[in-house]
Symmetry: C2
């Protein structure tokens, strides 16, 4: 086995060099490749198939909560982007600008959308007149561009794929409810589909989305203790509506401003899948979004009846709607074992002459490598059960990592000591002043506030930075 | 009924002003809206839901024929676009150019992709080494930009949504076969899903895609006799491979150039759906891609038991996976009838107190307005049968229009006479010289060669334009 494995080129060990391990997986699991355009990636079939499964699952959740998909233009005229002042300050510095169309210089520059609030607002202003037109519950799947200086596949790229929900409501309460509802949709999706636990809460003022009154976030922890902003849901109040002149005639016949939300997740989630679940043998994918859930590998496939039986198993599993691949290529079984481990396939089915003689096969799960011999009579039920089991184990392992790497700091010294020596999240009290956020970030080389959780613990009376009375308990941590 | 109808604002009659009728439907059926960006449209929920159904159906066909989805960057560096000289000549004049990223002027301009051959080629050159890596059967769903001077929603917009297939093969024969296979996938999709018959064949040299050795096309005819290029499939030979240095080691151990294809259809198909099927009361949608297939309209809904029964019918149909909407709003039934006709919903179910007493309901089909009273016991089977029937009738009606508006010209005079007086396609012989295509276009105000069909009829011995010996029978016509 050890010898056969060498045929699939090994990757850098996760504990030796996390960053190199990450890019090795991106490359060896054939998820993405670099392109000739700075900071833009090619998403390869295996990577895109994961994205398609993510899309399908999320889209179902969005439609179930009453949302409709639309498509807005990819360009934003500079004057439109400028209509909301915080928003333009936040995004203009990282826009790609179209200045020439055909052979003519444009009278006005067009930003390639970094996000589409302004376009949705322009449209809302045209189609909303009465309270009867509300709510508008829209979502869009598209690519967006943010001109980044340093990039990494999936985690930070100049172009990325995402969904952006944009909704408009009659009342403040309804909009706040929507903001939280969609945050919950993301939390559920991360748990039920990606097998990733998250820390959740609201962002501090400093970390809010440009133009938002409140930003809610989900923060999964990567295996090395670093956070990834996994998804956000923003409440805009009626600020954008006022800037863009969106009004409606209310039930009391007065002209009113509607309340607005937006929320989004992106291909960055594929980066999270790698960094939360995967190991030194490659990708480990949660069964719900694995493009191949079961790889059937014949052993001694030239022996009579082996390929036929392997095919039969494949067909039985396909008929039950599992995503199955039979690899009957002439490569050695050991090479195939390693290859499908690299691709993150949750279950490998091994079937050889001895198995056939005993009416059995071997199931090997990707996450723990545990082998089980099962009767062929129970193939479908065993696979179904094992996939559910793998999902749960993966979630539990990630939760264990999150718990083990979450620390509490009650004093400034304690905070700096943990930040220097224990990668992970730090729970600590905060006075509410962004100057303390700046100071802690500087002192620790990048530890920032992640969020203020919905249920705060009382760890001490004073801010861990300045010693003034504490207002909130905050999760702190470095981020990708 | 006539009086009730007035409540939904009437649209321009198709026979009075086809162009205005078209834009009225786009607006009133809530398919798309104009945006503040020149030539770019907002695709609204009803329009986008049609696109999602189109995508789902086509994507299934692509995967069934072995294709995988990928995602390439949206930007093409100018030097990359220039690598194939015909290609850059064809597309550079209509590109949108990004010249500034963040706050810096870029060293090299980036084109927003008008099509992605060059990006696929760059990637192929990196990942293809041996005949074992072939074929590559890729597809991409994305938006592309072509800077248009005059635009019309769905038909010609500066940005549009499409899919572009890009494949790479070991031999010329295999690539030609792929080009034709995907053309056939489009033909089948138009017939089986959009209920639209097409004329098909290859383009003349003049009308070929920039850089292609051969372009195959499907050409549906709109109700007014004008053609729409409905989809194309290109064979590139090894031209791009040579320009981009894509090579592979063949079975005989020599270094070879692979052969390439690309093929695409776009949101323009939504324009075809309007112009082929719809009428003076609005959109008429083929059942396979209608976002709502059945609208249940309660009559006298305040009477006891009506809404309950309407809900029951809705649920029965939903359970059978029909896409159903119950409209229980307080608007009058007549308004609802007109509204769902405008939206193109294939079947309306009317249910009122008298119907309930008789254990029946009324089915009204959108295409012919025919009413049938059916027993509630046979609701599901009657709806299923009627939807199939509507599809077939719509196809037959479109085929009848195509046949009635296809003419034959044997002489120059006959050609000019038909072109001037009978909107539609003209079948006529051609010498093979593009000068004759230019002349006919000038003389007729825009009649161009549509395609050379796979099976050519022999209408006469000489070119309908110059009188020299004929090489091909060509379909001619004006186009959108």
């Amino acid at each position: 086995m050890a010898q056969q494995k060498k045929m699939v080129e090994a990757i850098t060990s996760r504990d030796v060099d996390f960053a190199k391990w990450y890019t090795d997986i991106v490359k060896k699991a054939e998820l993405a490749d670099y392109s000739g355009v700075k900071g833009c990636m090619v998403i390869r079939p295996h990577g895109y198939a994961i994205w398609e499964n993510i899309q399908k699952d999320l889209d179902r959740r969005f439609k179930k909560t009453g949302h409709e998909n639309v498509y807005m233009p990819m360009f934003i005229p500079e004057s439109l982007l400028q209509k909301e002042k915080d928003h333009v300050e936040g995004f203009a510095p990282e826009c790609a600008w179209v200045t020439v169309g055909g052979s003519e210089k444009l009278a006005e520059r067009l930003a390639v959308r970094p996000t589409s609030e302004t376009l949705f607002c322009e449209h809302f202003a045209k189609v909303v007149n009465s309270y009867r037109d509300l709510p508008k519950l829209y979502n869009q799947w598209c690519s967006v561009v943010r001109w980044e200086k340093t990039t990494r596949p999936f985690l930070r790229t100049s172009e990325f794929l995402w969904q952006e929900g944009h909704t408009l409501h009659e009342t403040r309460e309804e909009a706040v409810e929507e903001t939280k509802r969609m945050l919950q949709v993301y939390i559920d999706f991360y748990k039920e589909t990606l097998a990733i636990p998250v820390v959740t809460g609201k962002k501090t003022e400093k970390e809010r989305f440009a133009g938002a009154e409140e930003t809610y976030t989900i923060e999964p922890m990567m295996h090395n203790g670093v956070a990834l902003q996994g998804g956000t849901s923003h409440f805009f109040g009626d600020g954008f509506a006022r800037s863009f002149g969106i009004t409606f005639t209310g039930r009391d016949n007065t002209l009113q401003y509607p309340f607005q939300t937006s929320w989004g997740v992106s291909t960055r989630m594929i980066g999270a899948l790698i960094m939360v679940h995967s190991d030194d043998d490659g990708l480990v994918l949660p069964p719900k979004i694995a493009p191949i859930q079961v790889a059937v590998i014949p052993v001694a496939q030239k022996k009579e009846g082996v390929l036929e039986k392997a095919n039969e198993l494949k067909n039985r599993l396909s008929d039950k709607d599992f995503r199955v691949k039979l690899d009957d290529s002439d490569k050695a079984p050991g090479w195939k074992f390693s290859q499908y481990e690299m691709l993150g396939v949750p279950i490998r089915v091994e079937i050889g002459p001895k198995d056939i003689a005993n009416n059995q096969c071997v199931l090997v799960r990707r996450d723990t490598r545990e082998k089980t011999v099962i009767s062929l009579d129970e193939l479908e039920t065993a696979v179904e059960k094992l996939l559910l089991n793998i999902h749960d184990s993966m979630y539990e392992a990630a939760l264990k990592n999150l718990r083990e790497k979450t620390f509490e700091a009650r004093t400034h010294e304690e905070f700096l000591d943990i930040a220097a020596n224990k990668p992970g999240f730090i729970k600590a009290m905060w006075c509410g002043d962004s100057a303390c956020e700046d100071q802690l970030k500087d002192e620790t080389g990048g530890v920032k506030s992640r969020c203020i959780p919905f249920v705060e613990e009382h760890l001490s009376d004073t801010c861990v930075c300045c010693g003034k009375p504490a207002k909130h308990m905050v999760y702190w941590g470095k981020q990708y």
